[in-house]
Each structure stands twice: as structure tokens, then as C-alpha cells.
Symmetry: C2
Subunit: 346 residues, 2 copies
Amino acid sequence: MYNPDATRATVDDVAQAAGVSIKTVSRVVNREPNVRAATRERVEAAITSLNYRPNASARNLASARSHIIALIYDDPSAYEAPSSGYVLSLQEGALRACRAANRELLIHPCDYRSRKVSEELQTLFAQTRPDGIVLAAPLSNMPKIVNAVKASGIPCVSLSPGRAKVPANAVVTNDQDICAEMTAYLASLGHQRIAFVQGDAKHKAVSNRFLGYLDGLSASGLARNDHYVVQGDSSIASGERGAEQLLSLPQPPTAIFAANDDMAAGVTRAALRRGVRIPDDLSVAGFDDSPLAQLVFPALTSIRQPSAAMAQRATQLLINPDDIDNGGSNVVPASIVLRESTGPIA
Amino acid sequence: MYNPDATRATVDDVAQAAGVSIKTVSRVVNREPNVRAATRERVEAAITSLNYRPNASARNLASARSHIIALIYDDPSAYEAPSSGYVLSLQEGALRACRAANRELLIHPCDYRSRKVSEELQTLFAQTRPDGIVLAAPLSNMPKIVNAVKASGIPCVSLSPGRAKVPANAVVTNDQDICAEMTAYLASLGHQRIAFVQGDAKHKAVSNRFLGYLDGLSASGLARNDHYVVQGDSSIASGERGAEQLLSLPQPPTAIFAANDDMAAGVTRAALRRGVRIPDDLSVAGFDDSPLAQLVFPALTSIRQPSAAMAQRATQLLINPDDIDNGGSNVVPASIVLRESTGPIA
DNA sequence: TAATGCGATGCTAGCGCTGTCATTCTGCTC
DNA sequence: GAGCAGAATGACAGCGCTAGCATCGCATTA
């Protein structure tokens, strides 16, 4: 049509050039065994010289596999929340694994609030027939979505499905432990009144963070005080509200740990507005290490979720299930990133 | 394999159920003309009852079209810059158009610094054979990339290609005009010393912003003063450096307009660190209306780039070239978003 | 030398759909 | 009511590849 070069080389051309049958070309391309080294080289030379690239559609049609991995995540544009870094990290990790294995990545932001999600997913699966599905949190905790994926029968790996017992087909992070660590770190700075801003209750993975906070308190010998626990909804605004509430307390906390960076940014804003200095008067910690953690002033101490690494691992698992045993664990550790917003008690 | 339901209905099944030939089913599915209403209904009923979904690979193989649109953008993970909102907006817009027209979107973050970009793109095109390519800025100003895309012969629409004369196959925004407007707005607040922090010089679209700034100055009767123009590189750090320099001037500016939000955030940080109050002592404006514009304190006045709308428009153009005349312009207007960081001179 | 076995290679039938062209059916006109 | 244009429908050949089986050839063994 448009491309003068559009009549690309096919297996037949390569076969002819190499003096073999198309089946042998196919064997070489797909790295199948039982091809003599000399033959293989001849075919490879032909492929190079003809600049042959297999046609994905033909391949998909003839074989059962589509060479496509679908990445399904919560549609960020359906949100107020601007935590876009998460989605991009997922994409980055999944793409890395796909490129390494010569697979295509199909992204599918999915609005779980929509009535027609199941149907929409069904259409997606039927049309593109991905070989595997990476289901990212928080969708991985939503029965409606999980069931729709299960019903398709397509192999699926969940990211942070948020169940107590980690299923085999899941990749998780040590969120609870790392939150305990963060809390203990704040305590080690001398803070005795450490508050927590909870995230959206629907996200199981997020509520683990609260459990970690409690673990950290007790590990540091601090008593739980429910006045220091407020409920947010993961938005910046809810962080601001939470901070207002906490800072109005007769004995306000000297450290606030928020279950995500957006809320921590909200806490920061509320504090700055009140003239509370950070970290002199108040330490603030977040979770996600989202881009904005570095952007707000002062830069946020946070917890880096290994989202990219998790997505990559999940994708690898789908492409090569044998990897399950093969070394790499399905628990990818998070890490604490220290910045300006936390410090010793003044 | 995995799916007991994997043996999905095919055209043959539908044809048999509806008592027509497969060709007629194909006509109905593809909305081709010359099908009697009664027949169409019968086929549609069969499709519904069998839950038939056409197999994309088979369709692609048989027709010349792949039903795939490729979105190519600068790989954000190759960057320091955390302005991820842009990429997600592009995806959002392109996806919206694709879903409406029942197309697949293939995303391709592309590291233009890599030596092998051209080859990489060639492989991408050969394997997936997209029907169209949306090439986002800043890649759309890079000859190496543009040429690789051109060489493929695949129809392409560029986003903000940054040429003086807007080519037909491009979607742009009125960036220069809107920057003039922002500058004039600052002047209207009483500011006489308005500074500008320039972005990465490589991005043609970004340098248009500077031209807009100059336009705005002269429209407001203010003289250009090169002491008030500093060069940044689009990063937060460069915004901080720029602000340091500007605020150290014997007659520091009372307003700083930065060519993107990251730099504006940097300006804000530098100002807060020096104890300069915003907007009482200094007005700050950015460009992009990235998520962080709302997150930093005080929230940034900025310019909202219609990235999603532009990507959507570009995708539509590729899917249905006739739209070119059909109403919708290829200039999608940007808009000013007023927030806390600008105000009248104190 | 002939029989045997197995690695290497080729042949052929589809995968599910669309494009082309042939054929059949309508509804009109005169 | 015959003739005809044009709409409606169908038959069939691929698209480029892979899977399954058939076949070939070489080295080993008796």
C-alpha cells in the first residue's frame, strides 16, 4: 500500500534463499532442536540478508500462542489520584520482560467501577487471546475482576493480591515488614507519638501497611493509640484532612506515617499551611516513592515499592513458568528511601 | 489448553447458525453495505447467542490491515524526569480513540539515545505492522526517529512536531499563544519584572514557549531583559538553580514563568528555602499542568496541555483520514489553570 | 553387507478470516 | 410479462505460518 518495501520477505523466500524447506526455517526461527549447525547458519544468513521478520498474525493464527501478554491495571484516568508513577513502573517492568522474550505487551487500563468490566475483559481476551495476564493491584483484590480473568482460563499472575497466604501465581512485596521497619525507624529517631493515615480500605494491600505500622509500634515498645490513627482515602485532600485532625489534637503527633505518598503530600501541605516545620516539628513519611515524593518540599521519606521489578517478574513467570522454581523469589523486597521530611525530634 | 471454553465460535459456526455464508457474516461484522436488514439481524442474533468474537490474528492475516495503532513516545524510564503524566495522557487519549473504533493500541516507549533505535523501530513495524503510528513529542522533532518512521511507509501523525509550518499530518497546540497569554496575565497582575526559565533546547515545541513569553512581554508593553531569562534543562534541579540565580539579582523578578512544571516546582522549592513567600513576594507559573502542579505547596498556576485530546485526535486521524476535513481542527487549544502560586504584586 | 535406529528434513493440511468474482434474487420499466 | 440493472449473497482461493507425520540419510551394529 503505502510502503514500497511492504512486500516483505516470507518464510518461502528465506527457504528458497537458504535452499531448505519452510519447515526448517520455522525451526530455526523458533529455536527448535534437530537442525544441523551448518543448516542453521545458512538459514540465519538468509534471514539476515532478506531482513526477514516473521509475521506475528500468521504465527498467532497457526499456533495456539499469541505471543501477547496483557497487563491489566486500574484505569488512572478514571481517578482523581495522580499517582501515575505506579502505572508507568508496571509498564516498564512488563515491557522489559516482554522485549527480552520477544513478546508483545498489550496494556489495558480497566475501570472496575464500570458495570461492563466483565464483558469488556471477555471481549479483550477473545479478540487478542493473550498468552498470559498480569493483573496489578488493586484489581488483583477485586473478586469481580479476578473471576472474569479466571473464567477466561488464561494463565494469570497477580501482583499483590493481598491475601494472607500468598498463592503460587502471585508476586508480592514485603509491605507489612517494611512498614514495621519505617515505624521502628521513626521511633529510633526519638518519636513517641507516631500517627498513621490509612489508605483506601478497599485495597487489601494497603491495609497491610497499617498492620506493619502496628508491628513497628510494638517492636519499638510503643503503645497503640487510636487517636493517632485516621482514615484517608488515598487522595491528597484526605491527607490534608487527616493532618488537620491530628495536628489539632491536644498532644499532636511528632511523626505522621501516611499509607501513600499522595496523602503524605497532603499532610505536608496542611503542616506548611499551619506553619508547622518539617522535619523540625513534624516528621512525615509516605509510601510508594512516587515521583512527587521528590518534588514536594521538603522531599518525602518514603518506601519504594518495587513495582517495575514485580511486573517484570510476573511477566517472566507467564512467559516461562519453569522460572517458578528457577531461583528468583516471588517476593520482591521494598526499601526505605530517606529524604528530608524525617528527622530526629527537635 | 487452559480454557475449557477455548474452542470459541468461528465465522463458520455463526454462518451455520444464521443460515448464511461466512462471507455474509464477515459483511455484518465489518459493517459492509449490501446486507438486507433481516439478514443482518439474523446474523447479529447468532453472533450474540454464540458469543462470537472475531479472531484478530486471522483478520489481520487475511486483510492488509492489522487494526493496530502504535503509540511511540520518549521512554520515561530512560529519564530522570518524573513527568509521567504526559505519557499517561497520551495513552489515555489514544486508547479512547482506539476503543471507540475497535482498534488495538500498541505502546512503544523508545529511548532515542540508543544507537539501535532505527533498527528497533524497524523490527517493531515489521512484526506488528501497525496501521498507523502516533509519534509524540519530543520524538516528533528528532530526525533520526522521524526518518525511521517515514521509511516504514506507515501513515503517521506527529504530535507537536515543532516546525514553524504545521504539516498536514500533525496535531499541535497553540503553545506559543497561550504562553503569551500567561505572560500578559502576569503583567496584568502588576508584575513588571517577569523572568523566564527555558526548557531543554532540543525540544522545539518547548522553545516555542519562550517565543510566546516574548510575545506576551511586548503585548504588555514590557521590555525584554535578558538577565531575566535563564536556561534550564527541564529538570527540577535546573529550576532550582535558575531560581537561585534569578533571586540573587540586585533587582530580582517578582514573577517567574518556567517552561515546564518540574522546573516551576524547582523554582518553588528554591524560593521556599530562601524564605521567599509565594505568591506574596513571588508569583510562579509552570507549563504542563502535570499532577505535581496540584501537589506542591502552593499549588502551581500552570498551562494545561491537551495531551490526551491531541493523542485522541491523532489516532482518529489515522483510523479515519477523512476526518481531516470533517470538522475537528488539528490545533487543540491549551488553557491556563489558575492556582495559588500567582497573585497580584504585594 | 544388510538391518536397525535416530537425527535431520520435507510435505501438506489447516488456523479463521477477507477479497475477488460469480451467481442469484429483487424490484422496476416499458 | 419479458428484460434488465443493481442489490444481495455465496464459492473459493489464499494471507504466512506451525503441527503432525512421512521420509531421507547417515552411523552403528550384527
